[in-house]
């Protein structure tokens, strides 16, 4: 199940006009100057998949994820949508593509959508778990954290192996 497209609305440094990335099935490289939004793209994927820790998304509280570059009107919200290729039905949903969205309002409340229909976070997490799609597994290495795995204590390394079984 690979990610075919990523759409980012009003999330961190991405403005309210929709930003859309068509992703390749192979090695997608994101590059650019310091402070130009590279890590924010990684954050947007983790956000969409349900990451709820402000620290993991590098903010003090969730509502700071909404872009502060636009007009300070009321009722602002951030939205991220991911489109997955589901031709092999790894996600237990009967459609060739599956779209997952998350919208966050200023009051910190999130709404999740699966193929356009509202869904509870709990049932979405179960569906994603079955497809081995996770935003906090070993498959995610945030900036500056790559050596951490090698620095784990022996006990922590054992627990890591136990957790993947």
């Amino acid at each position: 199940t690979l990610i075919k497209r990523l759409e980012i609305h009003n999330f961190k440094s991405f403005e309210s006009k929709r930003v859309s990335l068509q992703l390749d099935g192979g090695l997608n490289v994101i590059t650019g100057p310091n402070g130009s939004g590279k890590s924010n793209i990684i954050d947007s994927i983790r956000f969409c998949l349900g990451e709820n820790s402000p620290k993991a998304l590098r903010v003090s509280r969730l509502s700071s994820l909404i872009s502060d570059t636009g007009p300070k009107t009321d009722g602002r919200s951030a939205k991220v949508t991911m489109l997955f290729d589901n031709s092999r039905r790894a996600i237990p949903v009967d459609s060739d593509t599956v779209s997952i969205s998350r919208e966050l309002k200023e009051n910190g409340e999130s709404t999740y959508f699966l193929n356009g229909k509202r869904v509870q976070k709990g049932s979405l997490s179960e569906i994603l778990d079955l497809a081995l799609i996770s935003s906090e597994g070993l498959n995610v290495i945030p900036q500056g954290m790559v050596t951490r795995i090698s620095e784990l204590l022996p006990d922590e390394k054992r627990r890591l192996i136990e957790s993947i079984i």
Binding site: I3, F14, P33, I41, G137, I141, I149
Partner: protein
């Protein structure tokens, strides 16, 4: 429980040996601290870089830890295959030789799983199957997609 653990442990260990050797020419392996009491002892991630003494991963250098961590993470794939990877500047502390080898390995791996990787280093950009360039315009981030092979110059004002 013990049998399931040993089974996964051996798969990860076997894959780790292959990947680490491909990356460095040296060897790496997992050791159980106390095989008679697995669930209350630890696991050691052992490495032996070419021409060096064997050493546990915690007492190697920064660049060596990077290589070991990535070999370990990719070896987990053999037991728990995640459909995609998100890597943010994992190559920041690698020297030119290790960078080339890692870039080659990730290019190969990307045939099996999708990889989304942030990097500032040209040898890694050169192996991409798709390149996204981010830049700022009036404090807003924008993204353009490049065809691989097209020379990217990181813009500066």
């Amino acid at each position: 429980k013990r049998r399931v653990f040993i089974n996964s442990f051996e798969k990860v260990d076997k894959e780790l040996r292959t990947i680490f050797n491909k990356l460095t020419g040296g060897s790496a392996w997992l050791e159980i601290e106390d095989p008679n009491d697995i669930f209350s002892s630890g696991i050691f991630l052992m490495t032996q870089f070419p021409d060096k003494a064997p050493r546990e991963s915690t007492s190697t250098s920064g660049g060596e830890k990077t290589i070991t961590a990535l070999a370990f993470i990719l070896s987990i794939q053999s037991v728990y295959p995640s459909p995609f990877y998100l890597f943010d500047e994992i190559d920041a502390h690698l020297d030119a030789v290790n960078l080339e080898r890692l870039a080659e390995l990730l290019k190969e791996r990307s045939k099996r799983s999708q990889i989304i990787l942030v990097t500032l280093r040209p040898p890694m950009i050169a192996r991409a199957s798709a390149i996204y360039g981010t830049y700022n315009e009036d404090s807003i981030s924008k993204v353009v997609r490049y065809k691989p092979g097209v020379e990217i110059v990181v813009r500066s004002s």
